[in-house]
Point group: C2
Chain length 367, copies 2
């Protein structure tokens, strides 16, 4: 029954109740009996650190409550997305470092709704594991909370399922759901995109959360490296490189939309995740346009150069599996591209004009 | 890289893009190449079946969009909850039946926010698996969609992470997030609960989604049964019994709140999940009241009688692990209890007056 206790516990509103009843049960289940006390000490502070004024205090304790500020909107549209971090978790296990994947998860979700112009409101996590390790749990939560704070997003709920036999010892899976809001008339739908528009690429920090199955195969099977291996091309170990946190572009996107006007000059955004440029840019591309991405127009990070040099993978596949150094693309009216680039770079985000929109059939072409 | 393809696929808005690119990759990854076509055929119909008028069409395809009808509210409060179905999944695996756990997940989430008086708006799922089995995926989705329809809740997003090595062959984990809405002034916060109020219990269908680790131990280890075993006390096999779908009480709660008035006559609700009466009723109980639950005041389902007779478990533990036949409790002004019971039973939901509120310290007592 320990799964029940811990599952009930992870809804942080229920924490006090849970700790009260669970000392005996934890012990019987072989779970670190200090868990309650340790997490009890740090959890409220972590959660409070992500609080927004719209979050209501504890009522009942079954669900997280968020009072939408309807005065700010003519027609608020809620935007929701669920995601995981995939096999990047294997790197976290190998490095025994778990806060960064917590941040990855939040930032990935934030970017997925930011491309529609949506402001993140709140986030809920799910952790599935065999046996909960308090230190791992705390690191994950610390990561969620840190990224939520950076995105001004409240961590209002979550669930930890402790299910013996489902996961291998020391392993877990994690997923999260973000809910944000955008004014209906301000949804970035890409409708204004025209031939001649510029494509600005925002630098990624590394692989973000995509391509890990292939990257692990190349680094750890083909190149016989291990997560602690240090290569001259990289600062730090391969493990450090691969754990680099998925960037959130929301603070920058919010600022640039405010400055330039969403839909008018900033016409569309695409989060470069699984499927790379090829699959993600067409999500916002009108059917009569193609996006032409020019290789060599941006600085490819050393990690991608390594993967390209040692992977034996066709170039086309690299561009479909990895972000290749560009985590977000932005379609901008051509006469505003230089000003947008200056604005972005002034905020210490590397960015380049990496291509343009031409007449076509709704596809991405890499030339 | 198959995890990438499938993860991108499961956001159903991305499905068409995904199927286009993935035939070769699926084949290389050893995944049933018919998956795309089969799911492509059934998925849009399933999702469309859960559609509400507030759901906006595909825009970009990164997030699900829901236009909140702000005219209906003075101060809308969003209520969100994430949950899983725990080790009930082991029964689904053993029975190779996956639609019911899909329904369980949605209904569990719906009940968790219904206790605050919140109407479900939309739901997103997460499926973590080693290798996606198309038939299992379809059954899960069919279950999500069926329960979403019954609760008038839109299935607007989801994610399937195919992560080889994380899950055992044929296994998966599943979690879901619900977002609902309630008028701020109508939140059921239990503040009006007073000594003398009646506690009405609504019958569960069985174990719902709690107590499965203990139930499996009793039935399959202590009693040496297997999921196909048929006992005289039960209709159908143990497996059928254990897979019975977690009831959603939202349609009934919505009707009774409309009829009797939330907060006034219907003063508080508690979803009886992990922790049973003991942990769940106090979530809405004022600190100066106790809830007294009277054993024997309702019909205990045969499955609980079996667990009690053969489990060798202390009675107090049974009431803390299992719902014991009551899936939802409702605190009602005593002079309205009979009318409320008649109203509930007229809707073919078994219910009993199972106790009362007395002066106390915010605890549940089972007598």
């Amino acid at each position: 029954m320990k799964d029940l206790l811990l599952r009930a516990c992870h809804d942080r509103r229920r924490w006090v109740t849970c700790v009260r009843m669970s000392q005996k049960a934890y012990a019987a289940a072989g779970v670190d009996i200090d868990l309650g006390n340790r997490v009890k000490a740090s959890l409220p502070r972590l959660l409070a650190s992500t609080r927004r004024r719209e979050v209501l205090g504890q009522v009942g304790g079954f669900g997280g409550l968020f009072a939408l500020d309807v005065k700010k909107f003519r027609q608020p549209v809620l935007v929701a997305s669920t995601d995981g971090v995939g096999t990047k978790l294997r790197i976290a296990f190998a490095m025994d470092r778990h806060d960064t994947v917590g941040q990855d998860l939040v930032n990935h979700c934030v970017n997925d709704i930011a491309v529609l112009g949506a402001e993140p409101l709140f986030f809920l996590d799910y952790i599935g594991t065999g046996q909960l390790q308090p230190g791992v749990f705390e690191q994950l939560l610390r990561g969620f909370a840190a990224a939520c704070r950076e995105n001004h997003c409240a961590l209002i709920g979550g669930e930890t399922a402790q299910m013996p036999g489902f996961y291998q010892a020391g392993e877990y899976d994690v997923s999260g759901t973000i809910v944000g809001v955008v004014e209906k008339a301000s949804i970035l739908d890409g409708k204004g995109i025209r031939a001649g528009d510029a494509i600005i690429g925002l630098a990624s920090s590394g692989l973000h959360t995509n391509g890990f199955s292939l990257a692990r195969k190349i680094f750890f099977e083909q190149m016989k490296l291990h997560p602690g291996s240090v290569l001259a091309e990289l600062q730090g170990s391969i493990g450090d490189e691969l754990l680099k946190v998925h960037l959130s572009y929301w603070p920058l996107i919010q600022a640039i939309l405010k400055k330039f006007g969403g839909g008018r000059d900033i016409k569309g955004l695409a989060h470069i995740t699984g499927g790379g440029f090829i699959d993600n840019i067409p999500r916002m591309l009108p059917k009569k346009c193609d996006a032409v991405i020019k290789k060599g127009s941006w600085e490819v990070l050393p990690v991608f150069a390594l993967l390209a040099a040692h992977g034996g993978v066709a170039e086309a596949e690299l561009y479909q599996v990895f972000n290749m150094g560009i985590g977000m693309t932005m379609i901008v009216a051509s006469d505003k591209a230089d000003a947008a680039l200056r604005f972005i770079r002034a905020r210490r985000q590397s960015a380049w004009c990496i291509g343009e929109i031409v007449r076509g059939t709704g596809q991405t072409k890499i030339v």
